[in-house]
Point group: C2
């Protein structure tokens, strides 16, 4: 492709766009993070109302003539084009299943600070957030982590979710672990030793040359309290 | 395929499994709804712990050697095999994007009665449910419905989301509308006239011969207060 990809996502947060950014970075392809360019927010808002295949919400990706929305769908496309997914249908479906399961936990993480409404501030739903976060910490993180650790351990310990080769689902699992460590540091510190294969995968992804360079660059937006993974200490108490 | 498909899902609810059932029914293929057969629940629980590609949760589908989990992923597979999705990559990605957006609203619908924790009863989170449902009715249903109605209307009114031909996303949109009419009858009655293309699509799907036969059959589990779409009148007040 002659044109670089154009990624459309909120410019000040990692959010769901980060799962796409990590795939683009690991693929080593050229892309423009449109809304972070001058005038980019206006372009993004206009594109969302575009006539063809509008997206319900960012992120979405322009790839030549194509516009693709929904994070897992963008990754399905990029994975196939850039060697970040298996070449066979069965393998691709499995990676998509892994990605959708990661997406489920990402959505639940978001709702720990917004259990009532995304249209309200966190401060307007704090008691409910405390209740939801307590259950999230006690039942949801362990349930999902047990599942991922099991995938990594069976039939024998693997470097990545599907074996010796990285897929986009590994990049997303890295991001999920990073995000949860930021949002719930006490919890993650407490349970970390129970998930050695996930911790090793996280380290392995962080050390990949392109990912390591990206994480040190200004292209990586820092975690903050506007994104999906927010550190509100009271939610861990 | 010589073997019929095997669908694994909770036997007493429509839930997420219903999106798969509708696709199997419209495709006119043979399938076994495993957990509704004698001994089926035990088989489902055993399969979830199976060595290959276990699913985090039902539904999952056995198709010969393949086991596929995550609703949208199962539909991606079935759509391609049974003419319920476009034949080209761009078209398939678009239908997957539509499906994932439907899935987002389905998840939000679930959380209207379970805003705090799926591990708790509705009765233990009723005040929070009332708050979440109020926002869902006021901001979320209209936002999603505006988007779907827009897709159906542009560039000119269409029979189905992608044009003249039904895809699995149309079956899912039918189910979403049916579910919301069951769960929030007053709300849906009030706003229905604002979404004529969605209402027409719903009717069009309901009249398709295989779907009409299915809806009248015992294979269709009735809506109830154990599934995703629950009618709790107090949530509309």
């Amino acid at each position: 492709m002659v044109q670089p990809y154009e990624l459309f996502y909120w410019p000040t947060i990692q959010g769901r766009g980060e799962f796409v950014r990590l795939a683009l970075e690991e693929a080593g392809v050229e892309y423009v993070d449109v809304a972070r360019e001058p005038g980019g927010m206006a372009r993004m808002m206009a594109a969302m109302d575009g006539p063809d295949h509008p997206s319900f919400a960012p992120p979405f990706l322009k790839a030549g003539e194509l516009t693709i929305g929904q994070t897992a769908n963008i990754l399905l496309y990029l994975g196939q084009r850039h060697g970040l997914a298996p070449g066979d249908d069965a393998g691709r479906l499995w990676v998509n299943q892994l990605q959708l399961t990661i997406a489920d936990l990402v959505a639940e993480t978001h709702d720990t600070h917004h259990p009532i409404a995304t249209s309200l501030y966190y401060e307007d739903q704090r008691p409910e957030a405390k209740r939801r976060a307590a259950d999230f910490i006690e039942t949801r993180i362990p349930k999902f982590f047990d599942w991922f650790e099991g995938i990594l351990g069976r039939p024998e310990p693997k470097d990545y979710l599907t074996g010796a080769t990285l897929t986009y689902a590994d990049l997303s699992l890295f991001q999920l672990i990073e995000g949860l460590r930021y949002a719930f540091p006490a919890t993650m510190g407490r349970i970390d030793a129970g998930y050695p294969l996930m911790a090793a995968l996280r380290d392995r992804v962080a050390k990949r040359p392109r990912i390591a360079a990206y994480l040190k660059s200004k292209r990586r937006v820092p975690f903050n309290e506007e994104g999906i993974f927010r550190h509100y200490p009271e939610l861990e108490e």
